[in-house]
Symmetry: C2
Subunit: 205 residues, 2 copies
C-alpha cells in the first residue's frame, strides 16, 4: 500500500495535470500561464513547480497521458481492439479535456517547439502490438505488415482529427473514423474478419 503522503502527492500531481489540460485546451500553450494552471488546480505555485519543472514539462506530461486515458476502456482483441480504440479516442476527444488539450498541444508543438513525436511513437507501438496479435489470430489479409499499418494509422488519425477540427466539426470524428475503417478493412483484414468487425459509434462511449 502506498503511504498517505505519496498518495497525496500523486493526487496533487493529477490535479495539476488536469488543471493544465483544461487551461491548454481553452487557452492554448501560449495563453496558459503557470499562474493560471496553479489557480485552476487550487494549489500553490510552489506545488506546481515541485511536480513540473516548467510549462513545457507540463505540456509533455499532458501529451504522454493520452494512452492512460484510452487503453483502460478497451475490452476487445485483434482488429476489433484497434477499431474500438479509434472509437473511444474519437469520443474522448469530444468529452475529455485532457485528450482535447493533448491534441491541441500535439498540433501546436511544431510552432512552439514543445516536445517531439514521442506520443505518436507510443501510439504506433501500441497499434503494432495489437496488429501482431491480430496477425497471430489469423485476422490480417495476406502480405499485410503490422508495422506499416500501425505507422499509417497514426498519421491517418492525426490528419482526420486535424481536418475535422479545422472544419469546426470535431463531433463528426466518430463518423469519420468509421468511414475510414470501411475504406481500410478490405485491404487490412481477411474478408470473413472484416465482415464481423463492429463499426458502431456506441462502442466508443
Amino acid at each position: 500500500m502506498a503511504e498517505p503522503k505519496q498518495e497525496r502527492a500523486l493526487k496533487t500531481r493529477g490535479d495539476i495535470l488536469y488543471a493544465a489540460a483544461s487551461a491548454f485546451d481553452e487557452l492554448g500553450y501560449k495563453g496558459a500561464s503557470m499562474r493560471e494552471i496553479m489557480r485552476r488546480a487550487g494549489v500553490t505555485l510552489g506545488a506546481v513547480y515541485f511536480h513540473f519543472e516548467n510549462k513545457e514539462a507540463l505540456a509533455r506530461a499532458v501529451i504522454l497521458a493520452q494512452p492512460q486515458e484510452l487503453v483502460p476502456r478497451l475490452h476487445s482483441e485483434g482488429i476489433q481492439r484497434l477499431v474500438d480504440f479509434s472509437l473511444v479516442w474519437a469520443h474522448q476527444l469530444n468529452v475529455n479535456p485532457l485528450m482535447r488539450a493533448a491534441v491541441r498541444l500535439a498540433v501546436e508543438q511544431q510552432a512552439y517547439g514543445i516536445g517531439n513525436d514521442v506520443s505518436y511513437g507510443d501510439f504506433e507501438t501500441l497499434f503494432e502490438g495489437w496488429l501482431k496479435e491480430a496477425e497471430d489470430k489469423g485476422e490480417l489479409a495476406p502480405g499485410v505488415d503490422p508495422a506499416i499499418v500501425a505507422e499509417f494509422l497514426v498519421g491517418a488519425f492525426t490528419g482526420i482529427q486535424h481536418y475535422a477540427h479545422l472544419a469546426g466539426s470535431t463531433d463528426t470524428l466518430p463518423e469519420r473514423v468509421i468511414r475510414m475503417w470501411r475504406l481500410l478493412l478490405p485491404g487490412v483484414a481477411k474478408p470473413k474478419v472484416a465482415e464481423r468487425i463492429e463499426l458502431d459509434p456506441v462502442r466508443g462511449e
Copy 2:
C-alpha cells in the same frame, strides 16, 4: 496578350510570393517579417504592401497556391490521377519551397489563427472531381462514395505529412504515400483496376 505593365506586376507578385514562401519555410510564420520577405524578393516594402495587405494575406496566398504547383504536372485520369497527385505532392514537398511553406503554414494556422480550412476544401473538391471521373469510368469498388473518399484522403495526406515531418523524415513521404495506397486500393478500386494502378515514386518526379 497581357500588357507589359500587367506582366511586370504579375511577375513582381510571383517573386514576392516565392520570397515569402522561402521565408515562411525557413523561419516559420512568426519568424518571417515583411522586411525579410521584401529583402528576399528584391523589391521595395511598398511593392510588397501593394500586392499583399499584410503577412496574413501573404500566408493565405502561399497556402492557396498549392494546387497550381501540383495539378499542371498531372497527365493521367481516374484513380491513377489521384495516385499521381499524391506522388507529385510527396515529391514537391521535398523540393519546392512554396509547397514546404504551405504545409508549415497549414499546420501553424491553428496556433497563429492564419486562414482556415480553405486550402483543405480546395483539395477535397479536386479529389472529389477526379473520383467522380473514376466512378464514371467504372473504376470504383461497389458502394464507394467519391465525397467520402475525398474527405478521407485530405485528412490522411495531412496526417501522413505531419507525422513524417515530426519523425524528421519528410524524404520518406513518397514511400509512406505508396504504402497508404496499397492498404487503401482494395477498399476503393475494383480488383482489376487496383491491379493496374502504378505505384512508382518516379511518377511523382
